[in-house]
């Protein structure tokens, strides 16, 4: 066929074109009542395989999208579930803190622990409350479960607390329901970690495992009755003089995220009621007074009868010169530089 004929086509081509155009215009002009059945008939006959394949393809795409969505939802749920234990733990801690706030009522500032550097380095804690919140140096830092540390530096909006894990930290302690006093410090080293040792316990006083140890209120830094820990067992004993006990801490700093910073005005009070340690804090006579008789359950072995012994604050009896042990009265808290 010549190029001219190819280009312009034949009469038959033109006729076919005109017929098709006319038919298309007729289809366009059909009323809806007619065109709808015609279209429906086409879909049900000629287009049935194509419509079926297209529907199958669309369904497959929807299933793929649904699968992707389900996977995303599953991943999100897995992520949320992974965070759930931490959230529950934080929730429980905050609830306990709220209960403690309700019991304390006044004389504290709440703070968040901003940087916890872990077990090994958690010697100091940066807290989110500072001078503007009434925080002062030497203020006690407590968690619902017990003593965390004390404030050593205060900025307008933040403060730094020395945790009890710090090597320089000391607190005068007493035994719940007993007249036993001693000094609590962190125990680090081979048997260390986040455990404490109670030193300076008179040789005549034997403590059973599980015995709660709280702050004695001596020294004017920490109020009485704040839980410190509980006795795990005997660590060592200097023959005839004193015993040293291993304590399990009540409030490991690494596990604390929210704390209360107690006002310095509470230093002379007893917080036994707030921490449910009222028995110890309020029945135990302060040093210098008469030590009450110890309950039999607290004694591992009976003590011989003895006259009332004046107890120096922070110590539980005399000790030989040069013997390492508790510091003199009023030295709860950080030791001065150079002091062993």
């Amino acid at each position: 066929m010549a190029i001219g004929a190819e280009r312009y086509g034949s009469r038959a081509d033109t006729a076919a074109f005109v017929v098709c155009v006319v038919l298309a215009l007729v289809a366009l002009a059909l009323p809806a009542a007619v065109r709808t059945p015609v279209a429906s008939a086409l879909r049900r006959t000629v287009l049935l395989p194509a419509v079926a394949v297209e529907a199958e393809a669309a369904s497959a795409r929807e299933q793929r999208q649904s699968l992707t969505t389900l996977r995303e939802q599953r991943d999100s749920l897995a992520l949320a579930a992974a965070r759930l234990p931490a959230l529950e733990e934080e929730n429980a801690e905050l609830r306990a803190l709220l209960r403690l706030r309700g019991r304390l009522q006044v004389g504290f500032a709440t703070a968040e622990v901003l940087h916890q550097t872990g077990l090994a380095d958690g010697l100091t804690l940066l807290l989110s409350a500072g001078r503007d919140a009434g925080v002062a140096p030497l203020a006690a830092v407590v968690a619902p479960s017990g003593l965390v540390g004390m404030i050593i530096a205060v900025d307008p909006h933040t403060s730094v607390a020395m945790a009890w894990t710090h090597p320089d930290f000391r607190v005068s302690a007493t035994v719940v329901g007993d007249g036993v006093y001693g000094i609590v410090a962190a125990r680090r080293g081979s048997a260390g970690g986040e455990v404490m040792e109670l030193t300076g316990v008179p040789y005549r006083d034997a403590l059973a495992p599980g015995t709660p140890v709280v702050t004695s209120g001596l020294g004017g830094v920490f109020p009485r009755g704040i839980p410190i820990g509980s006795v795990v067992g005997l660590l060592s004993e200097a023959a005839g003089w004193e015993r040293t006990y291993l304590l399990r801490a009540a409030a490991p700093p690494a596990a604390v995220s929210h704390v209360l910073i107690l006002s310095r005005s509470l230093a002379g009070d007893s917080l036994g009621a707030a921490f449910d340690t009222a028995t110890a804090a309020d029945t135990t006579q302060p040093p210098g007074g008469v030590v009450p008789a110890a309950p039999a359950a607290r004694r591992a072995r009976p003590r011989p009868a003895r006259p009332p012994v004046p107890v120096s604050p922070g110590t539980s009896g005399p000790r030989p010169a040069g013997t390492p042990g508790p510091r003199p009265a009023g030295t709860s808290g950080p030791r001065p530089a150079g002091q062993p």
Binding site: I3, E6, R7, Y8, G9, S10, A12, D13, T14, A15, A16, F17, C20, V21, L23, A24, L25, V26, A27, L28, A29, L30, R35, T36, V38, A39, S40, L42, R43, V46, L47, A50, V51, V53, E54, E56, A57, A58, A60, R61
Partner: protein, 165 residues
């Protein structure tokens, strides 16, 4: 009409394009700018056919397309009849092996199809009509032209020997 091997190959390519339109496009190309494989198949057929055959093929494809979207029933048939006829009429100007010419040809045909459909159906006016013809239709035409080039590259050995009908 005798079905030669080359003609069978052409029909095979057209069948694959139709399958791509009904099976691949809904599954993997849900975008509104997805290529129109039916139009590509029509153009591949029309460009290798007489104008009358292209017009009839365009009418049938348009009618089937309208059956799926009956609101503009007849508009697709009208538009594709003209496009098919023009494709057959212009085949002497289109070099089947030239990718660029084919791309421009498919782009123009796609845009013309849209313009004719919009004009015939009267569904759009004013800004909508302008947006359709100046934005949506060119993007549609662009994706269809790109798909036509890909199809041409893939099936070139089968299409090169396909004779005019």
């Amino acid at each position: 009409m005798k079905l030669t091997g080359s003609r069978l190959k052409l029909y095979g390519v057209l069948l694959l394009l139709v399958l791509a339109h009904v099976a691949l496009r809904p599954r993997y190309m849900p975008s509104r700018y997805a290529p129109d494989f039916m139009l590509i198949a029509l153009l591949f057929f029309a460009i290798r056919s007489r104008p009358g055959a292209g017009a009839v093929a365009g009418f049938l494809v348009g009618l089937l397309t309208d059956a799926v979207a009956p609101s503009g029933f007849g508009a697709g048939a009208f538009a594709l009849t003209i496009v098919g006829f023009l494709a057959g009429w212009l085949k002497a100007l289109v070099f089947p092996d030239n990718l660029l010419v084919n791309a421009v040809f498919v782009f123009a045909a796609s845009w013309l199809r849209d313009a004719l459909m919009v004009a015939a159906s009267g569904a759009l006016r004013g800004g909508d009509l302008g947006g359709r013809l100046l934005v949506v239709s060119p993007l549609d035409a662009l994706s269809t032209a790109a798909a036509a080039v890909v199809a041409l590259v893939i099936f070139r050995p089968w299409l090169r020997a396909a004779p005019a009908l």
